[in-house]
Amino acid sequence: MLDVSGLDLHYGDAQALAGVSLHAQAREIVVIVGANGAGKSSLIRTIHGMHRPSAGRITFEGIDIAGQPSHQVVERGIGQVAEGRQVFPNLSVLENLEMGAAPRRARAQEKATLERVFGLFPRLAERRRQAAGTLSGGEQQMLAIGRCLMGQPKLIMLDEPSLGLSPAMTQEVFRVVRQLHADGLTILLVEQNVMASLKLANRAYVLENGRIVLSGTGPELLDNDGVRQAYLGL
């Protein structure tokens, strides 16, 4: 479904990604782990059209999307939940969700999708009139995910969704990820919570200094000594 091959990204002279290749098949959960500054967010942002790669191909459902503007990438069905819960703090929960229905494809079913999102996150339904900035961190993350779903993505990329959340809220986020997967979405998950995310993963990659250094199924990486030492402290 998503195929990335030989992706290079430079910020001026600094190389952020070097020959990154990965792929995700339909209805898979693909996890990318790596330390801070390894290039995880750069990778997601490049796939999402926010950076123009200096080399490499990104194809989604057979179409090359490398360098296309974000709104067209979203239109094709790739949604992004950016790092740090980027909700619009002064807009209401409902308005935030409506923003997510920007793709033309998603507008016709806006009402139905909204009901689905409220079904998934009853808290958001309760607080629909409230300014998003007044929600708790966990609720804001739910809102960010909900907004992404409003665009009816086929593939959803989540960048550190559990960052800064309480353990209980983190569990809730992982429950939602499993739920979305069960609903038929393909998921590309970037996480610092390596243990929990690798347990979910159909396929996983380890990113170090902008390069993929290891890949395999979730269980394979969980058994890998290097991963256990570097990321799990075992």
């Binding site: 926010m50 709104h71 619009f88 920007a102 665009g151």
Partner: protein, 353 residues
Amino acid sequence: MSESLWQRLTGDVPRRALLALGGLLLLLLAAPFLLRLAPAGDYWLSLLILVVYFSYIGQAWNIMMGFAGQLSLGHALYLGLGGYVAAALYVNLGIGPWLGVFIAVAAAMLAGGLIGFLGFRFSLAGVYFALLTIAFAEFTRILFDHFTWVGGSGGLFLKVEADGSAFNLQGSPLLFYYVILALAAGAFVLCRFLLTSRLGHYWLAVREDPEAAQAAGIAVLRTKMLAVLISAGLTAVGGVWSAFYYKSLFPEAAFAMGRSIEVTLAPIIGGLGTLFGPILGSALLVGLGDLFTTLAEILANDYGVKAAGLKQIGYGIALLLIVMFRRDGVWPWLARRLGFERRPADDAGEGRP
């Protein structure tokens, strides 16, 4: 969307606010006749004309800054360009302002589109974008200084014609008052319409967090461009009105930095991003300006005190105080006081939006 246009525009506005708005409109419609009864009525009418004019162009500027969060400090460009195009077409080619205004708007939108594209495509944001807008206004001023077809630095003048009529936008202040009032009312309704539209929502998203808007799939460049184009076009109409009202144009004044600042004051004082802010702001500004002028005159005539600069100093201090104590502008505070806020949210129990 099955709801009617009226519902959409007035949906969450409290009834008392709608009534007050209707009352204000009636009052403004009747104002010239009421002012005739007062001493120095013509003078009051000329002040009222200024209030409505500044509220109109403030509304237009507010679309860019208040709605979409893009700071323009070069709106004199659109005012000047609009005025010059319509006036030059009329003086040189005999094309009347009612037709010329469309060409003026097109010219301003072209200029706005160019500035917007350069700024947004190359990711100039905040003050850097503002500098770009200033630069364009400045070099247009210099260009027009040497543009002899429109009179160069010597200026362009519209003659007072004996057979002048509303058809060539000539006439008494009364005509200009009702024209600018119609424009201001139209801009008010248009802005309300835009704010309740999908585009309006996107503007707010871009204003709040451009990156999140991009991630959500909003075409940020297009969204910002539409704000500039609409704002520039509306401002140009104000420029045409102003050119025909004052009947003279000089590059030094038409494209002046001070004129650009003047455009921004009413919405800032009144409340950025609010519909009523520009109206309240311009009433306050024109009122304060006149107050200090009168004060200076009284001091000079009755007490022999020459207080040169009193107006500027007093005006400046008053602005400073307003900005210090009403950071979000006067209108949001006043609206709360008057109970004109959006209908209170009865959170949980509410059904479909």
